[in-house]
């Protein structure tokens, strides 16, 4: 019985994911408290020096900082199981409400960025692989190098100031519009940030595509197919690209996971109220519950994206299904 539990791949994955999340929870909890200062000093700054001991004690009680750490940790963890992610005193809202509003925003941004990255990355990768070390390969390599080396904040500020100052195009200067409220304005506001993020992610996708295509092309079955007279176009798309999709999917899934937590800089510059900015604000204000719960939500999303990527393999690659 126990043997089957351990060997059941689904249960093993779920167990692993739960372990990962618990590790993240403990790590974030400890790291946050290792940062000097707390919500009291974050809110009052140097004025905190003027607090009398009893005022200090009252504030600590209010923020729950008077409890031993272990109690703080388990009461937060216990609350999570009842769907209570904590309360943000700064915005006077529950962390759940804030997250329900900000996570879809980042999710949308990530999806758009990935779509753009695939549109740029896959064709360029194939182009480079079609004739290695040719001028066209050099072009694809150059784009990938630029994507890797131009920092997001630089590209973001440059695009923003060029479009705003020269063309008066700056949808991000207007109040943020949710996708459901004003789809057109929302997509305009997402345009530049998804270009910046997509350009950065296109780089690893170009490289992965190029390597994968080159490797598949050197396989026996491609030569056999060619000898059998399969048309070149069909050969490229049906045989080569389809078989290259496994590494490309892996890379895309990974990048998507990173985006969920790593779009902070772009969200700051383009005033996108996503989950990255939520964490950043929480850290600045030392809102412990807000940061802990939000990071956990991001980690959970990452785990789910990974699981979905695994499932996709099975669709793409019959060999995975067999194992």
């Amino acid at each position: 019985m126990f043997q089957t539990l351990v060997h059941n791949p689904v249960l093993r994955r779920v167990g692993g994911a739960a372990g990962t999340l618990l590790g993240v929870a403990i790590f974030v909890f400890i790291m946050l408290r290792a940062i000097p200062g707390d919500q009291i000093t974050a809110g009052l700054g140097t004025e905190a020096a003027a607090l009398t001991p009893s005022q200090q004690a009252a504030l600590e009680r209010y923020y729950g900082l008077d409890q031993p750490l272990i109690v703080q940790f388990f009461s937060w963890l216990g609350n999570l199981f009842t769907g209570n992610l904590g309360f943000s005193s700064r915005s006077q809202q529950s962390v759940l409400d804030l997250t329900v509003r900000s996570l879809p925003v980042t999710f949308e941004l990530a999806v758009l960025a990935i779509i753009l990255a695939l549109i740029i990355g896959v064709p360029l990768g194939m182009l480079g692989a079609s004739r290695p070390d040719s001028p066209r390969d050099a072009v694809s390599q150059a784009v990938s190098l630029a994507g890797l080396s131009v920092p997001a904040f630089l590209l973001a500020t440059t695009l923003l100031s060029v479009f705003a100052a020269s063309y008066g195009f700056n949808p991000n200067g207007r109040g943020f519009a949710a996708l459901t409220a004003d789809p057109l304005l929302n997509l305009q506001q997402m345009l530049l940030p998804s270009i910046v993020l997509g350009f950065g992610i296109a780089a690893p996708i170009i490289r992965t595509t190029r390597t994968a295509v080159l490797e598949i092309r050197s396989n026996d079955f491609i030569r056999t197919a060619r000898a059998k007279g399969v048309p070149e176009r069909r050969l490229q798309f049906r045989h080569v690209l389809r078989n290259s999709l496994v590494p490309i999917t892996t890379m895309t899934g990974l990048q998507f996971g990173y985006l969920l937590g790593g779009a902070v800089v772009v969200e700051q510059i383009f005033s996108i109220p996503g989950i990255g900015r939520q964490v950043l604000l929480g850290i600045q204000q030392k809102e412990y519950a807000l940061v802990q719960s939000t990071v956990l939500v991001i980690a959970l999303s990452f785990v789910i994206v990974n699981l979905l990527t695994d499932l996709l393999y099975r669709v793409i690659d019959p060999r995975v299904r067999a194992s």
Binding site: G43, T46, A48, A49, S88, A164, G173, G175
Partner: protein, 497 residues
Amino acid sequence: MSVTITGCGAQSAQPAATAGKAGGNLVVGITTDPDTLLPWKATQFQAVSVLQNIYGTLTEFDKDLAVVPGLAKSWEASDGGKTLTFKLREGVKFSDGSAFDSKDVKFSLDKIKAEATGAVARTSLAAVTAVEAPDPATVVLRLSAPDAALPSNLAVVNMAILSSDDTEQSLMKTPNGTGPFALKERVASQSLKLARNDSYWGDKAKLDTVEMRVIPDENSIVSAMQSGNVNFAVFNSPLVAKTAAGPNMSVAKTPQLSYHALQLNAQRGDLKDVNVRLAIQCAVDRQQVLDTAALGEGEVTGPVTSPAFKSNADDRPCPKRDLSKAADYLSKAGKKDGVTLSTIVSQGEYATSVDEAQNLKSQLAEAKITLNVEVLESGAFVTRWKAGDFDAAVALNGGRPDPDGMYGRYFTSTGNLNKVAGYSSPALDALFAEGKASTDPQKRKDIYAKVSKELENNAAWVWLFTSFTYTTTTSSVQGFVPMANGSLQYLRTTTIN
């Protein structure tokens, strides 16, 4: 002896009326939204700016930070300065429609004084022993000792008068004040909208609404102004202000009350000797710190920065850098071969901090004074600063319109920040007491000039410079008056066309 101050209605706190048509929505770009909506607990600049427009106070400041009537139309000191009687404005309403009277004032001041409330301005009421409301239009404050700074201290938003029917819990979400605007809606960390309060007691605001839009990156605010999405912003960075300069923008520079200083802790090591501290003062060229760390954007300063009491920046033992004098002081202290001390400095709280520390280090090195720089994350800096756990600290401290409110808490031996100041003396204690007891403005000016001299002659700290704020508006905006305390109270006279 009694002094009566009477204002003539609301005009006293208004600059000359500007020609601009009423109505419209002004969009203000802010980098972060208020961290609290409770005026008694607000210290963050954005929170203060917003709440100032929603809540009223007994007294107010005019554009030069002189005290003028607010919810109190006049006040009178009697009993040798130990009683202060306020006559209240009548017919004033809170934005929820309820009436304002002396009951609300008594409730608010008692609450601010109560330790459990955690109000940041509690110490300003230290001398108040009782608040009485003999009739709906009168409030009497009984003091343990005269406190001439009280009217000025009552003008800050941390002394806002709340309705006695409200609770902290309700106000956190729904502010209810007597100010020229009321909160209309708020989306956390995105935007906040104020609407004109039509039952305001003074001249009604001209704008229909003010939207505070959160744009976290200052450069993005500039872009939003260039594309016409945002009309108004206040920047602290001269670099950002420079990029905002353009044909359709105007930038107004205002010296701030807050000041940059090298705080010295006279309780520690070699700094106990006044001659060592004076050597440090003489070895520092303030203009050079300002030029290298802040692009020269600011003014060198003495201790008191408030326009009405401003210290003469050159009134100190070394008005200009003087290395031979610094060497003399060091040998007087028996430290001919030099001294070593370390300074804490915060990283990330404001742009110039680390550059200031580096420049001070190199200047002091030329006078055989070794300054070790300890760069700390701002939370860690505040923790050490609060505890007075440093030899020296490169600090940017907030200023106040009244010098007693500004320095009494630091440099009197009983002040609650005296541990942080690291210096006090019987002479200073006496001067501060005298300043509190006198209600004659000219006499108070002389007293605080003496305080300033006493601080400089003993090199309690080395005051460096004040920065500017840059109020940036698009050409459609008129009638706003920037103030040294950074207040946005003149949004009430602002128009947009």
